[in-house]
Symmetry: C2
Subunit: 163 residues, 2 copies
C-alpha cells in the first residue's frame, strides 16, 4: 500500500527517519552504515527518492524528508515496530528473529492485515493477565476494532499502522 516505491526505497526513507530521530544529522555515510550498503548505493537511492519528491538532498549536503516523504517514512516505521512487537510478544519468537522478519514483512503486508495485527497486539497486551478469555472474544475484538478492553465499549486505543 505504501506506494510505488519498492522495498528498497522504503528502507532508505525509514533509515532517514530513524537517523534523524536519533538526533544526528542525516548524511550519506550514516544511511549507508544504517542499512549496510555502500555510499554510491545511497547516492543513487537518494536521487531516485528526490525525483519522487520524498526527500531533499543538495549535493554534498544533508538529507531531509519532505512532508510526503515523512508520512511514508512514518508509516514504514510504525509497520516495522508493530510487526516486531507482534512477532515478539504475540508469536513469541526471540527478539532478533522478530527484528529480522519484521524488516522483511514490513514491505509486504496489506493495510487490512496490518490493522488487524494492531488489534491483535492490543488485545494480547490488554488481556495477558486475564485467566479466562475465549478466542471468541478475540475474534469479535478483531472484528469490532476495540481491542484494548474486552467487555465494555471503551474507544480508547490509538496508533494506527495503516494507510
Amino acid at each position: 500500500m505504501p506506494g510505488q516505491l519498492g522495498q528498497s526505497g522504503e528502507d532508505y526513507l525509514e533509515a532517514v527517519l530513524v537517523i534523524s530521530r536519533s538526533g544526528q544529522r542525516v548524511r550519506v555515510t550514516d544511511i549507508a552504515a544504517h542499512l549496510g550498503v555502500t555510499k554510491p548505493s545511497v547516492s543513487a537511492a537518494l536521487s531516485s527518492l528526490e525525483q519522487k519528491g520524498l526527500v531533499r538532498h543538495e549535493r554534498y549536503g544533508e538529507v531531509q524528508l519532505t512532508a510526503r516523504g515523512a508520512l511514508l517514512a512514518e508509516e514504514m516505521f510504525r509497520r516495522h515496530r508493530l510487526l516486531h512487537e507482534f512477532l515478539r510478544d504475540v508469536v513469541g519468537v526471540p527478539d532478533e528473529v522478530a527484528a529480522g522478519d519484521a524488516c522483511r514483512m514490513e514491505h509486504v503486508l496489506s493495510c487490512q492485515t496490518l490493522q488487524r495485527l494492531v488489534r491483535l497486539v492490543e488485545f494480547v497486551r490488554a488481556h495477558d493477565d486475564d485467566e479466562s478469555i475465549s478466542l471468541r472474544q478475540l475474534g469479535s475484538c478483531l472484528e469490532s476494532g476495540d481491542c484494548s478492553r474486552v467487555p465494555a465499549q471503551r474507544g480508547g486505543s490509538s496508533d494506527e499502522a495503516a494507510e
Copy 2:
C-alpha cells in the same frame, strides 16, 4: 531459509508443484498462466532452476521437479497454505487479502516464526469453541509446541511448515 533462490525462483518451483498436483502435465505455458508472466520469463527461470538442479526440462519438453526441487516446492507450498490460513482464520482478513499477503510473506519469514504460526493456527482451531482459554495457555502452547489440545499432552498434530 529455503535457500539462495530468491522469491522468484521459489514462485516458479511452487507453480510447478501446484500444476502437477492438479493432474495436468506441466508446460511453460501453464506456468506462465499460473504466475501471470510471459513465456520467455518462464524459459529463463527454468534454465536457472535447472542449473541449480531443482527441475528437469528438456527443450520443448515437460517440466519436472527433481527430488531436491520437490522438497523445496513442498516447503513453499506448506508455507503458503499456512500463511493463508493464519491470515484468514486467526487474523481474520478476507480470503483474497489473505491470499495476496500469503504470497508475499511466504518468501520472507524465518523458520522459527513459521513454526510458531503453525502452532498458533492449531491452537485456534482446537480451542475455537472453548469458552474460557487464557492467553497464558496460548503462550505455553506456543512454547511447548503442543497446540492441538490444551490440558493433556496428546502429541496429535502434524504438518510442519518449517525447515
